[in-house]
C-alpha cells in the first residue's frame, strides 16, 4: 500500500512537503487530480499518480498546465473534488482558463496549487504568483511549514466549496522540498463521479453572462475577505510596540529571529496564511497596536503595499517598511540570518552574528556545474548538429528540459530560451529576422506541451529552419513522468493512447522529416546536413531512450569503454563532448568504467580509434 494511504490518524511520519500536500489532498477526499510536472511541484503529482493505481482517485498527466486546469475545471463543475497542481510558470500557461473560471466558479472543491521557486533553483524566473490572487480575484492560501501544508489542504477544499470558486494554494520551494514530521489526519471517502447540470446562462461566458458573473466574483471577494478576518491561518503572536507581518517560510525565519534576538517581549507577529483577500480589520487593529512595522515577505511587496493602503485608510502614520535598501530584497530567497539582521537593524537591536571564517586564503575550487549524464543521448545529438553546422553562422533556440544544459561548454548548443515551447516559435522569428542558419531544439514532452502550435505556425508561414526534436521517451528533468508519446507498457500501465511524434509532424504538413539514432554519429551528422540543406522547414526526430530512465526500467545494457595505449592525447573526447565519464589521470585521459554506460559516441569521434569496449558485457 502507498505510504500516504496509511489509515492511522495521529501517526507521525517524516514527509517531504510535497508528500504532505498530497496526503492533505487525500485526507480532504480529492477524487480528481491533474498536472503537468514541474519542479518544485513534481513529487505531489508523482505520489498522486502512484496512489491512483491502487485507488479510485482519477489522476492524469495532462499535456500542459492549461489543459490540466481545463480538465480539472470540468470535473469540479461536475461536483467532484479536484486538485490541479503546477510550478509557478505553469500558471502562466493556465492563466487563460484560470481568469474566467474565477467568474464561472465550481460546484465542488477545487484547489489550484502553484509552487513558486524563489532563487530559481530550477526555473527560468522567480515571479511571485501571489499576484494571481489579485489578478483573478481568487483566495490565496500560503502554508509556512510541511505540517501546515497538510492541514491547509483540507481548509482549501472547504473554502472553495464555501465560496463556489477555486482556491489558489501557493507554496515555495522551501515548503515543497523541506521534510518534517507530520501527524496524519483522518482519510475521507472519495466521490469520483458527479453530475453536470446544464445551466448555460451561468456557465457559457458570453459577454452578457460574464457581466453578471463578474459582479458575483466581486461579491465572493467580499465574502472571502470576511472569512479571512476569522481564519485561524491569520493569527497574531506576542505583544509589544514592534510589529512584524509575514507569510509562508518567512514566518519561520521571523519566529526564530524573535527568539534569538530576545525581543519576544517587545514584538508582535502577524502571520497571514489566508493572505488574499487580505483581512482589513485584522491588519488595521494589528497596526494600531504597533509603533513601527516591518513586513517580511519573499518576492514582491504584495503584503507591504496592501498594509500601507490599510494604514492610509486609518490615517495611521507609523513607519511601515519591507522592501528597500538595507531592508528586504525582492531578489532570491530569504534565509534565517538575513531576516534576523534586517529585524535587528530595523528595530535597533544589538546582536552578534555567527560569522563565516575569513576564506580569502582558500584557493579557488573548480566549479561543479550540472552536466548531461554519461551516455546522455542529447550530447550525441548536439555533437551531430554541431559538426553538421560547421562553417555556418547559426542561431540555436533551445527549450526547457535536461537538454537545456547543452548550452554549457564544451557543447555550447543553446542561444535563446524564454519559456516552454519557445524554441520553435522563436526559430520562426530568428529565421525571418536574420540571415543565419537557425536550428531549434525541443524535448519530446515539451513538444507536446507547447511546441505543436509553433510548428503549425512554421508550416503555415513557411519559415526556414531545422527543428530537432530530442525524443528520449520520457519527461526526464522532472523525474521521468509519462507524456503523450510515451510507451506506457514500459510502466506496466494499460488503457492509454500513444501519439507518434513523427506522425504528428508529418500530419502538420512538414515535408522534410528524418528520424535519427543519435548514437550513430556519422549517419546522424549526414542526416542533419541534409535537413539543413532543405530550403524551408525540416524536422529531425532524434530517438534514444534517456539513460537514467532505461536504467530505472532495467533496460540499460552497460558496456563500458576504455582508453587504450593508441591514445595520442588529442583529447577530442573530453574537449568536444564533455562526457562526465572522462577524467584525467596525470596527463592521460581515462574513462571511469562505473560511470560509462557504453553509448560509444566518444569511440566514434576518436581520431586514433583508441577507445574500445572493456571486454566482458555486463547486464544490469
Amino acid at each position: 500500500m502507498h505510504k500516504l494511504l496509511t489509515d492511522s490518524p495521529g501517526k507521525k511520519m517524516l514527509l517531504l512537503g510535497n508528500e504532505a500536500i498530497a496526503r492533505g489532498a487525500i485526507e480532504a477526499g480529492v477524487a480528481f487530480a491533474t498536472t503537468y510536472p514541474g519542479t518544485p511541484s513534481s513529487e505531489i503529482s508523482l505520489n498522486l499518480f502512484q496512489i491512483s493505481h491502487e485507488s479510485d482517485l482519477y489522476f492524469e498527466y495532462s499535456t500542459n498546465e492549461k489543459v490540466a486546469l481545463e480538465v480539472a475545471s470540468a470535473a469540479a463543475n461536475s461536483g467532484v473534488r479536484t486538485f490541479c497542481m503546477m510550478k509557478h510558470v505553469g500558471l502562466n500557461v493556465a492563466a487563460d482558463p484560470l481568469m474566467t473560471l474565477a467568474y464561472v466558479g465550481v460546484k465542488a472543491g477545487m484547489v489550484v496549487l502553484t509552487a513558486d521557486d524563489p532563487f530559481m533553483f530550477s526555473s527560468q524566473n522567480e515571479q511571485d504568483n501571489r499576484y494571481y490572487g489579485k489578478l483573478s480575484g481568487l483566495p490565496v492560501l500560503e502554508p509556512s511549514s510541511v505540517e501546515e501544508a497538510r492541514r491547509m489542504m483540507a481548509e482549501a477544499f472547504d473554502l472553495s466549496e464555501q465560496l463556489g470558486e477555486p482556491v489558489i494554494f501557493r507554496t515555495t520551494t522551501r515548503v515543497n522540498h523541506s521534510s518534517a514530521f507530520v501527524e496524519l489526519g483522518k482519510l475521507s471517502a472519495r466521490k469520483p463521479k458527479g453530475d453536470f447540470i446544464k445551466d448555460p446562462f451561468n456557465l457559457v461566458t458570453v459577454p452578457a453572462v460574464s457581466r453578471r458573473l463578474h459582479v458575483r466574483l466581486l461579491e465572493n471577494w467580499e465574502k472571502a475577505r470576511k472569512l479571512a478576518e476569522g481564519s485561524p491561518y491569520n493569527f497574531t503572536e506576542g505583544s509589544g510596540p514592534w510589529g512584524i507581518v509575514c507569510n509562508g517560510v518567512s514566518y519561520n525565519y521571523v519566529s526564530d529571529a524573535v527568539g534569538e534576538l530576545g525581543i519576544a517581549d517587545n514584538t508582535q507577529v502577524l502571520r497571514l496564511g489566508f493572505s488574499h483577500p487580505a483581512p482589513p480589520e485584522k491588519i488595521k487593529s494589528f497596526l494600531k497596536g504597533c509603533e513601527k512595522v516591518l513586513v517580511a515577505e519573499e518576492g514582491e511587496p504584495v503584503m507591504e503595499e496592501t498594509i500601507k493602503a490599510f494604514a492610509q485608510e486609518e490615517g495611521l502614520v507609523i513607519p511601515i517598511a519591507g522592501k528597500g535598501e538595507e531592508l528586504f530584497s525582492r531578489l532570491n530567497e530569504f534565509d534565517p540570518a538575513m531576516v534576523r539582521r534586517v529585524i535587528a537593524d530595523y528595530f535597533g537591536v544589538a546582536y552578534t552574528d555567527s560569522r563565516p571564517p575569513d576564506l580569502s586564503d582558500v584557493p579557488e575550487i573548480p566549479q561543479r556545474p550540472p552536466n548531461l549524464c554519461a551516455g546522455c543521448s542529447h550530447r550525441a545529438t548536439y555533437y551531430a548538429v554541431k559538426k553538421a553546422a560547421e562553417g555556418f553562422e547559426t542561431v540555436y533556440p533551445t527549450d526547457i528540459g535536461c537538454y537545456t544544459l547543452g548550452f554549457l561548454p564544451p557543447l555550447a548548443m543553446g542561444d535563446f530560451l524564454i519559456c516552454m515551447g519557445s524554441s520553435i516559435s522563436t526559430a520562426c522569428g530568428f529565421s525571418q529576422a536574420t540571415d543565419k542558419k537557425v536550428i531549434a531544439f525541443i524535448g519530446d514532452s515539451t513538444f507536446f506541451h507547447s511546441g505543436l502550435t509553433g510548428l503549425v505556425n512554421a508550416v503555415h508561414n513557411n519559415h526556414d529552419f531545422t527543428l530537432v526534436i530530442l525524443d528520449n521517451g520520457t519527461t526526464a528533468m522532472t523525474g521521468h513522468q509519462p507524456h503523450p508519446g510515451v510507451d506506457m507498457d514500459n510502466l506496466n500501465l494499460s488503457g492509454y493512447g500513444r501519439v507518434s511524434i513523427e506522425a504528428v509532424v508529418r500530419a502538420i504538413g512538414v515535408k522534410d522529416v528524418t528520424v535519427i539514432q543519435p548514437y550513430k554519429v556519422k549517419k546522424s551528422i549526414e542526416a542533419v546536413k541534409k535537413a539543413m540543406d532543405h530550403k524551408g522547414l525540416s524536422v529531425i526526430i532524434s530517438q534514444q531512450i534517456c539513460t537514467l530512465y532505461a536504467r530505472s526500467l532495467k533496460q540499460l545494457k552497460v558496456r563500458a569503454f576504455k582508453v587504450t595505449d593508441k591514445c595520442k592525447n588529442h583529447r577530442d573526447c573530453i574537449n568536444e563532448i564533455g562526457c562526465p565519464a572522462f577524467y584525467l589521470d596525470g596527463e592521460r585521459v581515462q574513462i571511469d568504467p562505473n560511470t560509462c554506460v557504453g553509448c560509444a559516441v566518444c569511440a566514434q569521434i576518436c581520431p586514433e580509434n583508441a577507445i574500445t569496449p572493456v571486454k566482458e558485457k555486463q547486464a544490469e
Binding site: H177, A180, D256, P336, A337, V362, E364, R368, P369, Y583
Partner: protein
C-alpha cells in the same frame, strides 16, 4: 531543546538524500524535532547536492552562512567549498577520496591539494575529522555506502542529540533490505574511524 544545525554536502549520486532520510527517521525514533531541506531538479544532474538538517526547536528548514554546528562533506573539494557555512565553533567531517569535477578534466580549474585543504579547514573551524570513507565503504562491502560511513562518524562525535541505537534502527528499517548488513558494517567503520581520530 537546543538547536543543532547540520549541513551535508555531496556530489549528485553519492546518497546524500538517503543519508538525510536516515537521520530524519532516527530523529523521529529519538523524539527529537527535525526539519530539513534539500534541492531537487536541475541541481541534481551531477552538480552539488546540499542538505540542511535542523535538529531541535527552530522553525527554519535552511541554514545561513556561518551557522552550521556540523558540516559533513562526502567529497573533499565540496567540503572546502562549503566552509562558508561554518564558523570557528563548527566541527567538520569529510571524506578524503576526491571526485574531481569534470571542469578539471577540461582544464577549467585545478583540484585543490588535499593536505592544504585539511590545514585550511582545521585552522578555520573547531575540529576536523578526515578519512578515506570510500576505502571504509569498500571494506564494508560496497563503495555506495560512503554516506553511511560518514553518518557513523557523525554520530560518534555526539554533536547530534541522536543515540547510535536509533540511527542503526533507522538503517535497518529505511535502507534497502539487501544492503542493511553492509550499511551497518559501514556505519560501524565510520564510527570507529571518528573515535580514533
Amino acid at each position: 531543546m537546543d538547536t543543532t544545525r547540520l549541513i551535508i554536502v555531496a556530489v549528485g549520486g553519492q546518497g546524500n538524500l538517503l543519508a538525510s532520510k536516515v537521520l530524519g527517521e532516527a530523529a523521529l525514533l529519538a523524539n527529537v524535532p527535525v526539519r530539513m531541506s534539500e534541492i531537487h531538479g536541475m541541481a541534481q544532474r551531477g552538480g552539488v547536492v546540499e542538505s540542511a538538517i535542523v535538529f531541535g526547536d527552530a522553525q527554519s528548514t535552511i541554514i545561513s552562512d556561518g551557522e552550521a554546528d556540523v558540516l559533513v562533506g562526502f567529497e573533499p573539494s565540496e567540503t572546502l567549498r562549503a566552509l562558508n557555512k561554518c564558523n570557528a565553533n563548527t566541527s567538520v567531517i569529510t571524506n578524503l577520496a576526491p571526485l574531481p569535477p569534470f571542469t578539471v578534466a577540461i582544464g577549467r580549474g585545478t583540484y585543490p591539494d588535499l593536505d592544504h585543504a585539511q590545514d585550511l579547514i582545521r585552522a578555520k573551524t573547531k575540529r576536523l575529522i578526515a578519512f578515506d570513507a570510500v576505502a571504509l565503504a569498500r571494506q564494508a562491502g560496497s563503495v555506495m555506502a560512503v554516506n553511511i560511513v560518514l553518518l557513523g562518524a557523525l554520530i560518534q562525535t555526539g554533536i547530534l542529540p541522536i543515540p547510535r541505537e536509533n540511527l542503526e534502527e533507522a538503517i535497518r528499517t529505511k535502507t534497502k533490505a539487501a544492503f542493511v548488513d553492509v550499511n551497518l558494517a559501514a556505519f560501524d567503520l565510520g564510527y570507529k574511524a571518528a573515535a580514533g581520530s
